[in-house]
């Protein structure tokens, strides 16, 4: 099993209202899990997940996670 630290942002926070600002949730996953596995584990609909950063780098849903990874998950957002 591995543990990753997941932070959810913007509209995704509606699903986890108890999460503090910038607070990471520890999530346990089987070794070899992918970003997509994490998204499913967290019960987030695929179409709501647009960007995933792992340790500060953009990753796709097929990329594998490692123990201790810091993951930031974002819906589609924009700005200036």
């Amino acid at each position: 099993m591995i543990t990753v630290h997941a932070k959810l942002f913007a509209t995704l926070r509606r699903r986890y209202p108890e999460l503090g600002l910038g607070e990471a949730m520890p999530v346990s996953l089987p070794a070899g899990s992918t970003v997509g596995d994490l998204v499913r584990q967290l019960d987030l609909p695929e179409e709501e997940v647009k960007l995933v950063f792992v340790n500060g780098l953009v990753r796709t849903t097929d990329d594998r996670l490692s123990d201790g990874d810091e993951v930031g998950i974002f819906p589609p957002v924009g700005g200036g």
């Binding site: 942002f9 913007a10 500060g56 974002f74 957002v77 700005g79």
Partner: protein, 586 residues
């Protein structure tokens, strides 16, 4: 169609001219840059009698085109020494279009220094054209704009529109913007960057008051094509996740970017020393939304800054008593006065933004200047109270204030700070070039100085809009160029740049914009004309800058970025000069 209105501040006269044929299809930035290119001596002093200040609504501004209430302000910049286009929304842009004012040119300079005037611009129904009355503005000078604006609306009526300057423009600060009112008549929308407020101040013009009562609607050359285009754009805006109602921008505003850019390790922190700020979550869009929810006991979605906007991304931040601190807190502002200064308290950031609005300052340049002041020893990073005091010094024009009002590059020079994050004298906005190479290239080559809105490559580099490219990839001359040209086109239409999130992903939306333009102008443009038109605008800007003395040596980033690795990714600026020079080529 329409006229050029000239205000001569040497003798306080006004005159209307027909729009010359060469400007027939220009609007917004295309028109301001053309007029500045054609009429301003590139070697003129930016605050002297020969600079001009040009205001132009966009091609489709004043029509039913969605999210099209934007206006360009142009001139020679006292900050960069080159050409400048600054852009604002708010209530005023459609008024100029409706009054048939395709461009308004402020020229000349009063002999008597320190005396300020207002231009009251109303509609003469008999002649079917605008008329101008010059009034003294002495009772409004030296004052907080939040106090002055209600007096102006009381005096001239609720329906008028105001553009003008705060004390920053009166002090001729290189960091001074041109203010415009928002939908609630707050002095909170700005054509902020590049010191154009000082140009207005140097011409003794404090305010322009526009009253469009009696003016007829904007005439369309081809209503059918206009309606077709309008619908295609509207559909795209309503469909895209970022621009749609209750979507990304409507829910969290631009400040939602704080956490994304922080995750990417590209949020400039404490004067561009690091790419992550430990307090980022406290000053981000989510913190605003959730803080308001706690303080007001309800969920507050964002509002429009201007009439006809369907994206509606402006927020309001309230204090614990439920009173408004400021509207609005944009990404750039909360970054500049927050993370870049090491400040993680939203109430402090809100107060600092409000003071920028009150005094007439560009929030980006103000924040980067205070950060340099912190590095230079005038305050500790993170000391919000001291930052507020420094802001008051700027507003009062104390000697320290005057140094800081001159902007980041000048403050760095005076204080001996090497880490000055500027290009062509204008400070960098909220994306670290070392960690996002394309935006770094954009800062380097933009005719505007360090500028993120002249080509928002952040969209593909970070946000996954218009494709996805690796933020660290350096081979981006073509990407950067394409964004420059497309953006110069959009800047000329009068649409808010945020339509780009939708139209870069949904092609029919971009086609719709082109069709709207054809509908207004009677042209037959296609998508193939977009890059051509954008390129023509930029070509004039490049010519002006070159004649003003700027060279490719000015298309570079500050040296410290080449040797100081930026945590957390430990990256330096290493894009080869040849790549930079290849963007606009030769």
């Amino acid at each position: 169609m329409g006229k050029i209105l000239r205000l001569n501040m040497s003798d306080r006269t006004a005159k209307l001219e027909d729009v010359p044929e060469k400007y027939a299809h220009l609007g917004g930035r295309g028109l301001t840059s053309s007029i500045v290119h054609d009429e301003v001596d590139p070697l003129a002093h930016a605050l002297g009698p020969n600079n001009k200040l040009v205001f132009a609504p966009g091609i489709v501004t004043g029509t039913a085109a969605p999210t099209s209430s934007r206006l360009s302000v142009g001139g020679k910049s006292p900050l960069t020494g080159g050409i400048k286009e600054a852009n604002t929304g708010g209530r005023v842009p459609p008024t100029l279009a409706v009054m048939g004012i395709r461009a308004l040119v402020v020229e000349g300079q009063p002999e008597e220094k320190g005396k300020y005037w207002m231009a009251h611009i109303t509609w003469d129904s008999d002649k079917g054209e605008p008329k101008v009355e010059f009034l003294p503005a002495d009772e409004y000078t030296g004052r907080d704009l939040y106090e002055v604006f209600p007096e102006l609306f009381d005096r001239f009526g609720d329906k008028v529109n105001v553009m003008g300057i705060g004390v920053a423009g009166e002090y001729l600060y290189s960091n001074s913007g041109v203010v415009a009112e928002d939908m609630e008549r707050r002095p909170s929308r700005y054509a902020g960057r590049g010191g154009l407020g000082a140009v207005m101040g140097s011409k003794g013009l404090k305010f322009m008051i526009f009253d469009r009562t009696g003016a007829p609607a904007v005439k369309l050359a081809d209503s059918e094509q206009f309606q077709t285009g309008r619908k295609k754009l509207l559909d795209a805006l309503m469909e895209h996740d970022i621009t749609k109602p209750k979507g990304g921008l409507n829910s969290y505003g631009t400040a939602v970017l704080v956490n994304i850019v922080n995750e990417a390790g590209a949020l400039p922190t404490r004067n561009f020393r690091e790419g992550r700020f430990e307090g980022a979550a406290e000053i981000a869009g989510e913190a605003i939304f959730e803080g308001n929810k706690t303080r007001l006991a309800k969920e507050l979605y964002n509002h429009a800054c201007s009439p006809g906007c369907v994206i509606q991304c402006s927020n309001t931040w309230y204090n614990e008593e439920g009173e408004e601190i400021v509207s609005c807190i944009e990404y750039e502002s909360t970054w500049a006065l927050g993370a870049n200064c090491g400040i993680d308290d939203l109430d402090t950031v809100g107060k600092l933004i409000r003071l920028c609005n009150a005094y007439g300052l560009d929030t980006i340049e103000a924040g980067t200047t205070i950060a340099v002041a912190m590095e230079g020893g005038l305050a500790e990073f993170g000391d919000g109270q001291k930052a507020i005091e420094l802001m008051h010094e700027i507003g009062k024009g104390t000697p320290v204030g005057r140094i800081l009002g001159a902007g980041t590059a000048e403050a760095a020079k005076v204080l001996g700070v090497v880490r000055a994050p500027v290009v062509k004298g204008q400070s960098m906005p909220a994306y670290e070039p070392r960690a996002i190479k394309g935006i770094g290239m954009t800062y380097a080559i933009s005719t505007m100085g360090a500028d993120h809105t002249s080509g928002y490559t952040i969209a593909p580099e970070i946000l996954g809009v218009a494709g996805k490219v690796d933020q660290f990839d350096r081979d981006k001359a073509e990407l950067v160029r394409n964004f420059q040209y497309a953006t110069a086109f959009i800047d000329s239409t009068g649409h808010c740049l945020f339509i780009a999130f939708a139209i870069l992903d949904i092609a029919s939306g971009f086609e719709g914009v082109v069709e709207e333009c054809n509908g207004v102008l009677g042209t037959s443009w296609t998508m193939d004309d977009v890059a051509r038109i954008g390129k023509e605008v930029i070509q004039k800007e490049l010519e002006f800058n070159h004649a003003a003395g700027l060279t490719t040596a000015d298309d570079r980033l500050p040296e410290f970025m080449e040797y100081e690795p930026l945590p957390p990714h430990d990256v330096v600026w290493d894009v080869p000069e040849e790549t930079l020079d290849a963007v606009f080529g030769d």
